[in-house]
Symmetry: C2
Subunit: 352 residues, 2 copies
């Protein structure tokens, strides 16, 4: 697997933890901090520690696993620990974990002393193919996802595929939704390849291909002025469903499960508005509906969902903006959707 060269930083796929150990040894940093949660502390940190020679200069910052940690209070906790540990501007933060760790750690680092360097060691499929690439950092406020953040690139990304071996199936499915999205918005061949693969454990080649697609888009448009909005396919409705589930369900939807619902609904909108053929809508719907568990949405929650959609970052002048497919493998950004259209698409999902 080739190293992917992103915008001034490498994304490693082979012997990645050895590469991390080399990176640390180069003498560019005065101190090292590893941000981890109780899961990665147990399953991933031992490998990292076993590779690092000089461990005296490392401090561990451990937070609780889960989206609930991705808020400003945990961020303040990280800032205060960096202060207490005496972190200076030449310190490096190593984000060892899933998307919560990379988004939160990236934001904390990008604002600490007006910015210290950080690298990502993504440990979930979702963070490997999505959060670790592209330079978005973010935290939630009042459960509004990524409402606060920066665009700041990591100094390197180390993708260790071995970490996926310990992941539960629900987390594999969560990452898979973003991989399927990469095919749907940009690469019909890749979509077909995914459909015909054993998706219970995506191969290294598939992960590499998803990262390459995401990287190409984000290098071209780092600040999401244009083509990067393609990556938001499924996310206007998906984020709203995810927020709703986070607030209301004890065993809440994963990010990918919510995005799969969003992709079904937004494919329906695409069929209505941007010419996605009926047979392709059916192909997308059947594939996602077979892969992902059904989720019950009541019409009584449409108002709440719509309120969440109105807070989406992509909106302008009060209009709700969606990225919609024109064909499998092609999409169109900045489509204004009305409340009636969005509700209709939710009904399409409900009535499947």
């Amino acid at each position: 697997m080739d190293t992917i060269q992103s915008d001034n930083y490498p994304i490693f796929f082979e012997n990645s933890i050895d590469e991390l150990a080399n990176f640390v040894k180069q003498g560019r940093y005065s101190r090292f901090f590893i941000l981890t949660d109780e899961n990665t502390a147990q399953h991933c940190l031992p490998l990292v520690k076993s590779k690092i020679e000089d461990q005296d200069n490392f401090d561990i910052i451990e937070i609780n696993a889960g989206e609930e940690s991705k808020d400003i209070d945990f961020c303040i906790g990280i800032w205060k620990m960096l202060i207490d540990f005496g972190a200076d501007r030449k310190s490096l933060l190593i984000n060892l974990g899933g998307g919560v760790i990379s988004d939160l750690g990236g934001f904390a680092a990008s604002t600490f002393k007006r910015g210290i360097d950080f690298v990502h060691v993504p440990t979930t499929l979702l963070s490997q193919v999505d959060a670790s690439v592209g330079g978005k950092t973010g935290i939630d406020i009042d459960s509004i996802k990524n409402i606060i953040g920066t665009f700041t690139q990591p100094k390197a990304v180390f993708i260790e595929l071995g970490f996926l071996d310990t992941l539960p199936a629900k987390q594999i499915l969560s990452g898979l939704a973003e991989m399927l999205k990469h095919g749907l918005i940009q690469d019909a061949n890749y979509w077909n390849q995914l459909k015909n693969s054993d998706l219970s454990k995506p191969s290294a080649e598939l992960v590499h291909r998803s990262v390459a697609i995401k990287n190409k888009i984000t290098v071209e448009d780092p600040h999401e002025k244009g083509i990067r909005k393609a990556l938001n396919f499924g996310h206007t409705i998906g984020h709203a469903v995810e927020t709703y589930s986070l607030i209301n369900d004890k065993d809440h939807l994963s990010h990918g499960e919510a995005i799969a619902i969003g992709m079904i609904c937004e494919s329906y909108l695409a069929h209505k508005k941007t010419g996605l053929p009926a047979e392709e809508l059916k192909e997308i719907t059947d594939t996602l509906n077979n892969l992902y568990p059904r989720y019950t949405i009541h019409e009584s929650s449409f108002d709440t969902l719509f309120e969440y959609m109105k807070k989406d970052k992509k909106n302008q002048s009060g209009n709700i903006n969606c990225t919609l497919l024109t064909n499998i493998g092609q999409c169109n950004i900045d489509n204004i959707c009305t409340e009636a259209e969005l509700c209709e698409s939710l009904l399409y999902y409900i009535n499947l």
Copy 2:
């Protein structure tokens, strides 16, 4: 007074509030938010409002005046108000106030939805000659000044000298310290000109010259890798004294009062370490000591002051770094100073 062209943004000095009204009218933004405090709401907001034609699209966010507002809780408050008001990525935040407003507002804007545009309308001498130029944003955590922030440039700065007419003498003195610093680190002629001026109300020409000096340095080195550290002269000790006073004094030192003390102490260090001639040390000491009120520092507080200095952002690998003069008008960055040297310089101030 010529408009100064900074790194992609203009700094207006003439008819500045008219220029702001023009800027607002250009149609680049969907919504406008004015961040203000109770002082600027009373003294400055009426002029701004009188110039703006379409006021329906404006919302006011008012915070308490004072350094205490420059912390994460107020920042969260601003973020939540922006959410509640429905601010989108095409919104503009207008920071109408002193350094607290521009630092806090700049940080809130630079991180809201991963960054919305902002402009500064500085209303104090200090913010006109210092905070509004150069793209530093910041908030305090546990009274550690600017420990969290970003480097983000405003889209424009509107300097209205008329706002200085209502400022109390203490606030004029606060800004003056930064102006004197500009002369000391870079321009001996300007220092002499300042010494021979009526400093109770600095002229437009002097303000313009200070902004030009600060702008030239920050354009050359926006991220403070080198020459920008010159601007930290007086701030290693000055920030520690300021933090100490903020925590311990009811009527605490202004920023400039603390920096004046810092400049005296660091000039003493410069005499000892970087060859500042004795007669120039005396000239600096006498000038600052005559302009600024004396402040009582007890030797028993040296440990606390030293703890604050150790948290300074300029430090590396645990060493305390100072910018020191070599002559009036010239300086040298990255001088490591020991605890003993720093204490000696505080004793120099105490014994004046």
